[in-house]
Amino acid sequence: MNMTRRSFLKMGAMAGVGLALPVGALSRPFDRIGAAGSVISPSVEPFEVPLPAPSVLKPVHTDSTTDHYEVTQKARTLEILPGMKTEVWGYDGLFPGPTVEARSGRKVVIRQMNELPVPVSSHLHGGRTPPGSDGYPTDLILPSGSGSSLGHDHGGHTVTTSDGFKDYEYPNEQRAAALWYHDHRMDFTGPQNYRGLLGMYIIRDEIEDELPLPKGEKEVPLIIADRIFNEDGSFYYPSIDPSLTGQGGVIGAYANGVFGDTVLVNGAPWPVMEASNTRYRFRILNASNAQVYDLALDPPPPGGKPFVQVGSDGGLLESPVSHDRILTSPAERFDVVVDFSRYPVGTEVTLKNLEGEGKTRDVMRFVVARKEKDESAVPDALAPRQDYPDPEAAGVTRRFEFRNGNQWGGMSTVNGKMFDPERMDASPRLDSTEVWEFVSDGEHPIHLHLVHFKVMSRNGGEPGPYDAGWKDTVLLRANERVRMAARFEGYRGKYVFHCHNLEHEDMMMMANFEVI
């Protein structure tokens, strides 16, 4: 075969442009996919770091009706793993962020200031909040002084923006409960929570004040979150765009959630807490992106169930419920009392995650270190009889199917549809009761903004052991069906409901409802 210069050039150009260029372009994603499966956090000796207590936020000023706070969202370097530095994005640079202590019926205004390089949106999870302060995913606070064009296009969807700060108003017209606040920016909730944008928000009221439950230093928040760390101590999160300004979502292999190999409680790895042989009230928050925890005490105390649940997402139960274990999915809160007087002084009690493997089977340790007089108690009646919504009064029943994308392609969906901020998926009337049925293909913790609801049935039978009380997040295991009743009261406006596996949420497992 004769090869002319022309045909040689042609073949060369076709090989170069047609093959070498695309293959070269693939090398970087191949490298990242290869590296993604091999990241292992630096080794940490468990039960060495004392359990930290999140700081409590102080108001900048108060008046007769309102407490005013200011919080700056900023990057800061912290020592999370002993001897290593980790850059977090935190509320006031803290991880977890400072706890807000609020009173039922007393308004709180938080000025959120953004000194991060990306837009943010703050959601008070569990809050009965007007739509303008709910942290809708496209209601963004832009970085201070960034103008109007930094990575918040969101596929051309309409966004509302505040330049540098926004005042969020929380009326707190709701019962005493453990809420939490966290970032809720469309497409980037997963990585921005992962970097540290979360904190607790506790509402108290007279009913709770009068109960003899453990108080003060014996009321302990346990914010459980798993993470992966790089060798240098930085967080590893498999974002498609690590700058968090372009394409949202995670590398396909993590489409079902980012599961860490290091368990943090209140921001410390496998911490240890010294306790007296008395009752403690633990406000447990699962702040992980995707991990479900099946919590158990090892050894279990003699003579019965170790956890006495006194509250759920929406506040105190009518009466306590005892559990051998606590199954908690992302965003759920469990308010439990553990009585360490059932252990001899000197006992080391490990909080285990029965769903974990290897190192992640441990969560933290309690050491029953001393004797103390205990004046607390768990009364048989906690809250007054609750006015749960009556499903018989429901005028509308809606059904929502939550379906996963997968690692090969595809987004997660609700009723076969990806999240679209402009599409309304349900329009309940103000003060109406509706029954909503959720169906799952995989494991999905479903969260509704604005309302608390009552789980009516699970797979056609009775609600599960962890469905007691008012809920705002309910876990569906694979192929489960949950019916709940909710009263849409408080405010008219547009809200979202979504899977709280944050990778599912970022990959579009979210939908809108508008209270009309």
Partner: protein, 151 residues
């Protein structure tokens, strides 16, 4: 004004303008390849299946673009038309109908980048069909066809 001819000598403006449609096609194929390469990395990380298809499209558009620069045969023009019809159809289906239940997503958004690629590919189809009519069959293949017909 002059342009290089096939044998490397300076040619006239009319020779250049004679090649212009081919260069325009090539440019459109390069634009399409460039856009596919631009989105390839993210898409491959995000949705490997979609990323694989985008990779294939980028390879084919690159081959087509390079071939068009040097004077394509009829088969390459046919290939170019078929390829771009496939790409534009896939784009339209995923944007206006979706793949309900198949890949777990519904309609994909129409965005400036993918719209630009689709317009370039539609333009390429039109130009390729026009140029296809102007390309004479290769003498050898005509002879072969004659032999086959005679047989």
């Amino acid at each position: 004004m002059s342009a290089k001819t096939r044998n490397g000598r300076a040619g006239t403006t009319s020779e250049w303008s004679g090649h212009a449609p081919r260069y325009a096609e090539s440019a459109l194929a390069f634009v399409s390849q460039g856009i596919h390469l631009w989105v390839l990395q993210e898409q491959f990380l995000f949705r490997p299946l979609t990323g694989g298809l985008i990779f294939l499209a980028a390879v084919c558009q690159g081959l087509l673009a390079a071939s068009l620069l040097f004077g394509p045969g009829r088969w390459m023009v046919r290939f170019g038309v078929a390829l771009n019809v496939c790409i534009v159809t896939s784009w339209a289906v995923t944007r206006f109908f979706g793949y309900p239940g198949l890949l777990g997503f519904d309609r994909l958004p129409v965005e400036p980048l993918n719209l630009t690629a689709a317009v370039a590919e539609a333009g390429l189809i039109v130009l390729l069909i026009r140029i296809r009519r102007q390309i004479k069959p290769h003498p050898e293949s005509s002879e072969r066809r004659d032999i086959v017909n005679a047989a």
